[in-house]
């Protein structure tokens, strides 16, 4: 699902330089950066990227649903981001960093063979026979906040991801499309499906409790 990582490409390029040494322009430039301003690089990287540490951690936590994994992924993502920082030309540091966090998270999810990336899940909701509660009922429910988080936790990763990006980060469809690497036209329909799923879950839960 996840496309090749920008950061991974960057590391390939670097290995390639060190063995071949032929890409003269690049090598010279890299050297200058390394010899003269590694520290300045790091400082400007930190100044631009550390403010988004919470966003990075929040996304990773929602995707991986595990504290330790989330922390490891965020650290790894920051290292990758620093490596390819030279290629960062944009003005949207948060979206750029979140793309790397997202890709790193998916790499780990795949490695752990977590299969909930896109799979439609939990058929039991549909066959359980419980009447779905109406949205009005859902919202009247006292512990709605808790329920929503629980329900969201059970959604597949691509839905969790899009809900986090939209509702917690308040990103535009365009930014979401860039981060999730989907066509901009898909963002709205995926969000709609994610929200419908969320509603379905909530309805089923509240129905069960009653």
């Amino acid at each position: 699902m996840a496309l090749p990582l920008k950061a991974e490409h960057a590391s390939e390029t670097e290995d390639f330089e060190s063995t071949a040494k032929i890409v003269k322009f690049v090598v010279v430039k890299k050297r200058e950066e390394q010899d003269h301003a590694p520290r300045e690089d790091l400082l400007s990287f930190e100044a631009l990227m550390l403010p988004h540490l919470d966003a990075a951690h929040n996304l990773a936590k929602w995707l991986l649903r595990n504290d330790e994994d989330a922390q490891d992924v965020v650290q790894e993502a920051y290292l990758r981001a620093f490596k390819s920082f030279g290629g960062f030309r944009g003005s949207n540091g948060r979206a750029w960093l979140l793309t790397i966090v997202r890709n790193t998270s998916y790499t780990l999810l795949k490695k752990n063979r977590v299969v909930d990336l896109t799979t439609p899940f939990d058929e039991e909701i549909h066959v359980s026979g419980h009447e779905s509660a109406s949205p009005a009922t859902i919202l009247e429910h006292g512990e709605v906040a808790e329920l929503i988080s629980e329900a969201m936790d059970e959604l597949p990763a691509e839905f969790r991801e899009i809900l986090v990006l939209r509702h917690q980060e308040g990103l535009s469809y365009k930014e979401i499309a860039d981060i999730a690497q989907i066509p901009p036209g898909t963002v709205m329909s995926r969000l709609a499906r994610a929200r419908a799923k969320l509603r379905e879950y909530l309805g089923a839960r509240i129905g069960k409790e009653k």
Binding site: S18, I22, D35, L50, N58, W62, A70, H167, G170, S172
Partner: protein
Amino acid sequence: MNCQEATKLMDGYLDGELDPITSQTIEQHLRECPNCDQAYKTHGSLIRAVGNATPYYKASAELRERIQSSLREKIVERPMRNVAQDAQPLFRRRQPAPQTLVFGIPWNWLGLAAAIILAAIIGWNLLPRLQRPGADQFLATQLIASHVRSLMANHLTDVASSDQHTVKPWLDAKLDFAPPVVDLAGEGFPLVGGRLDYLDNRTVAALVYQRRKHFINLFVWPVTSEANSMPKAISRQGYHLFHWVKADFNYWAVSDVNEDDLQTFRHLLEEQVAPH
């Protein structure tokens, strides 16, 4: 818009991501359809609840420190790798470097090709500049444009008179110089009138003469520098332009009459305009 379409676009509408026209269409539909309006309101409150209800997992201070120290390790590590590179055995350096190929062409050839292409591009862009037509050509373009415009826009003359004693005072009053005005009706170039025009960054006098069915615009303004005192003849786009300087005035005659006629016109003027 029907309910199905409205439902499909509801999320985009709630997120404020639709174009204004589609948004308006949806608003229209919501006003007309109570069912969709109800769905819109509940869906909207659910969406707001998602934003408010879900926990936001902030990073711990510990994670921040961990990341910062691992970044610092990276920059210490980097120069060391350079040292290792430089310490490669000598024989390896003397060997021809392994050629990295792009489409089977070695890099250094690509570099040469790039240099040649670059030189070609620079040359291509510079040459026309070196040969750039001078101010005369630019002025000629302006003159032709003025001439064509005067015929096109029904604004051939500001003062329509074949009487030079009407045209001249009119022009004198409008300009800060007094252009010589002569009528050449006897020679087949009747004066039609005069006009103000703007050329070469100044207001100039335009005298209009007729030759059979054709018009000649004669632009006159005082000489400001010696640079352009040489007589010139330019032909472009079927128009002929003659330039001469006489008695401290620049003259530019522009017309689509044949070159001989324009030449004659010029000689007549030169003869008849009395020197100071």
